[in-house]
């Protein structure tokens, strides 16, 4: 007994010293305000509730976003948004935070994650909050329906989209002129695109190998948009089928297969891995690049003269239409937030701010040249083409098991197709039942 009594104080002292000696990891700011009261105190005297916002913003983007947040915070009376950027491994971190109950109140989510998280009960359903809200960013009928549907699940709304970025065709006018090829125009078809890509793939140093290419494909742009352009679908409207083996879908897939890594038209895989993907276009090695409307390819040369000068055109037309993919993301609310009303208010105000910063705002009333030029002045010259692309822009149809669907689509269809391990028809036939198994609940 004496032995033990002697030891106890040392154990406690040791632990206390260890506690002092090992400072914890720098704290993430926490919402420290107690749960909201039924009758809020007058705004002037009430302390503002801290609303944490998690984003994947890098240094530059975070700085710009902070300016938006500062304006929102200055006008807010009930909340203060605290930005927590997590540029690396964002989705891994927020998943861990959500599962561990330490996630931020507001979160940025790319389109493919929202249905899955909503299905798992992690996101706050904001449909009822939106009903009585008269603020412009809360008017759902002002959003492009195809973009808004990515933030909805089973008829309920779980977030507000803050960007709708259609894919456009960036091209290098100098490379076109050097090769004697007419620049792209609004009547361009797949055949025109392929013919130009072939002429633009050139060996300029005479070593027998091409050193500049017509275009570059690498899983991006999404194969989906070419399937849509041919009249096919990857997920049916009712989200119960994956008809990737229809003649239309196969035509789109075959067009993609004909170009990707094909040294006749496009940069090979090794070159992409060595020199980067969009870097090939920026560095004047690729003449045509499918990029998001907000990409800086058309003004990168104004920041750094080493980059090639590029212009913007519409994507070439497919056999049935000119559908283009619209990348979109939303801000959502963590279902476990202690301050749902304040978080919702912050969401709507912040979304309005972001719509004046990011292009293209996913709202009909803001999709105009003035707003684009005011948001990103360098995009003024491209605004007209971007706006013309918008009516053809489509987002993915998202299903709750989207990640599984994506894995199967890549592993069983796209990758073997690109690697020449089967024809589009064979692979589509094999992959379809597995894809559809993920659609049935």
């Amino acid at each position: 007994m004496n032995n033990f009594r002697l030891i106890i104080p040392f154990v406690i002292a040791g632990m206390a010293i260890a506690a002092c000696a090992a400072p914890p990891v720098a704290p993430a700011p926490r919402a420290q305000q107690p749960a909201e009261q039924a009758t809020p105190a007058p705004a002037a005297v009430a302390e503002k509730v801290k609303i944490r916002l998690a984003t994947w913003a890098g240094v530059e983007e975070a700085k710009e976003l902070q300016a938006v947040i500062d304006k929102v915070n200055a006008a807010a009376t009930t909340y203060e948004i605290v930005h927590e950027p997590q540029p690396a491994d964002y989705y891994t971190k927020i998943q861990t935070n959500l599962a561990g109950g330490t996630a931020a109140d507001l979160l940025w989510l790319s389109q493919e994650f929202i249905a899955g998280y909503a299905d798992k009960g992690v996101l706050l359903d904001i449909s009822d909050y939106l009903k009585n809200d008269t603020r412009p960013a809360a008017q759902l009928d002002d959003y492009f329906p195809d973009v808004l549907q990515t933030a909805q699940f089973n008829g309920r709304t779980y977030g507000l989209p803050w960007i709708a970025q259609p894919v456009v065709l960036y091209y290098n006018p100098k490379m076109f002129a050097d090769a004697g090829v007419e620049p792209p125009n609004e009547n361009w078809t797949w055949d025109d695109f392929k013919a130009a890509a072939e002429k633009l793939t050139r060996d300029t140093d005479g070593d027998g190998k091409p050193d500049q290419w017509g275009t570059v494909f690498n899983g991006w742009p999404p194969i989906h948009m070419f399937i849509w352009q041919a009249g096919g679908e990857v997920i049916s409207e009712d989200k119960t089928k994956s008809p990737i083996d229809t003649p239309e879908a196969l035509a789109g897939a075959q067009f993609y297969k004909d170009i990707i890594y094909n040294p006749k038209y496009a940069a090979p895989q090794e070159v992409i891995k060595e020199q980067g993907f969009s870097e090939l276009a920026k560095n004047g090695k690729v003449a045509m690049f499918f990029g998001g409307a907000a990409d800086d390819l058309d003004y990168a040369h104004t920041k750094d003269p080493r980059f090639a000068e590029m212009q913007v055109a519409l994507v070439p037309k497919g056999p049935k239409n000119r559908a283009t993919f619209a990348w979109t993301a939303s801000t959502v609310i963590n279902a476990a937030t202690k301050n749902p009303q304040a978080a919702y208010d912050a969401l709507v105000d912040l979304t309005e701010g972001i719509h004046r910063w990011k292009i293209v705002a996913p709202r009909k009333s803001l999709a105009n040249a003035e707003v684009i030029a005011a948001s990103v002045p360098q995009k003024k010259a491209s605004a007209e083409v971007i706006l013309k692309a918008l009516p053809d822009a489509r987002s993915f149809r998202i299903v709750p098991r989207q990640s599984e669907w994506d894995s199967i689509f890549w592993e069983k269809f796209q990758d073997p197709l690109f690697q020449g391990k089967g024809t589009a028809a064979e692979l589509a036939k094999q992959a379809r039942p597995e894809l559809e198994a993920t659609l049935s609940q």
Partner: protein, 330 residues
């Protein structure tokens, strides 16, 4: 400040709670008739025991359970029986290329690494001036963090990296293009193996050095009296006497090879063609990308355990043929 003060209080509460728990355990054990010395011992290992149960034993058992379920970390796990195991073995296109890469990586890098470790250990076992400095220098790479080492090698083995620059005359001589290590599928495995040899001068060398130092000098003297040279000493004394240490490092090295993780995270390998390390597949399914398939990942963890056990069993069985124990009777 607030946060630090709160954390400090948390620590103090845990420390106090632990001390009380230890005291209670001591009292209970004594009342149950245990000797005081033994009861003190059990009370003192209580924090470690609790840590082991909470942070090691429970996750191991939980992962075994999850491996038979569909579990996404947000919703309760759903029992699916052997589905996850069957999917890995029959329906996952990344499994077999990754198993192949992981095993080949271990099979090639381990013997080369051990042979080089033994060579370095023999050099360091010599009684030369300043041997302490040499030993420190050779151990230094082992204390550099794995991530820094991998980034360094990624640069060294880049297509315009130092290795290709130095070997450029050789490539010209044999009419070969500069290889794109880590990019070209054909060179990924050799690149990873070259990188793994960095660890040669680390722990294995130290362990083998200890094994070499334990060899009695009279055995070498006996060889000299019999007219044996350096090769005879190495073949008939050093190798048999150090074989138990080699056996130990081989078993640990093999387990580590199957569990290789960092190179696969920092050097992107196509899991469908080149394959990647199995551990990277576990991480990818359990955590990465925000779509956890914890049950599926757990199943691969247990498949890896079976692989490690089979390999260890084979090495143990083979040990009778090549490991020499001094006190052993045949």
């Amino acid at each position: 400040m607030d946060f630090y003060a709160r954390t400090l209080i948390d620590y103090a509460v845990v420390a106090l709670g632990m001390a009380i728990a230890m005291f209670v355990v001591f009292q209970v054990l004594v009342r149950l008739g245990m000797k005081r010395e033994a009861a003190t011992g059990y009370a003192l290992i209580l924090p470690w025991l609790l840590g082991f149960i909470i942070w090691t034993a429970y996750p191991i058992l939980a992962s075994l359970y999850y491996s038979f379920t569909n579990y996404n970390v947000f919703q309760p796990p759903k029992w699916v029986g052997l589905d996850n195991y069957i999917k890995w073995l029959t329906n996952d296109r990344s499994f077999w290329p990754s198993l192949r890469l992981t095993l080949l990586y271990g099979l090639i890098s381990l013997p080369i690494g051990l042979a080089l470790s033994l060579g370095v250990a023999m050099l360091l076992a010599r009684n030369v001036r300043g041997v302490g400095v040499w030993r420190t220098l050779y151990y230094l790479p082992a204390v550099i963090p794995a991530v820094a080492t991998i980034l360094l090698w990624r640069w060294l083995l880049g297509s315009e990296g130092l290795v290709n620059q130095i070997l450029s005359p050789v490539y010209n001589l044999i009419g070969m293009d500069k290889p794109s290590w880590f990019v070209d599928e054909r060179y990924a495995l050799p690149g990873l193996i070259i990188m793994s040899l960095w660890g040669v001068f680390g722990a294995n060398t130290v362990i083998l050095l200890a094994g070499l130092k334990n060899i009695p000098t009279h055995l070498y003297e006996a060889v000299e009296l019999d007219g044996g040279g350096a090769w005879a000493k190495f073949r008939h004394i050093t190798l048999p006497m150090v074989s138990p240490t080699l056996f130990y490092t081989l078993v640990l090295g093999m387990i580590a090879a199957v569990k290789t993780f960092e190179p696969g995270i920092f050097i992107k390998l196509n899991s469908l063609t080149t394959g990647t390390f199995l551990q990277v597949l576990v991480y990818g399914n359990a955590f990465a990308g925000g779509n956890s398939r914890m049950g599926y990942a757990s199943a691969l963890g247990w498949i890896m355990l079976v692989i490690i056990m089979v390999l260890t069993l084979l090495v143990f069985r083979s040990s009778a043929l090549w490991v020499y124990y001094e006190g052993e009777r045949k």
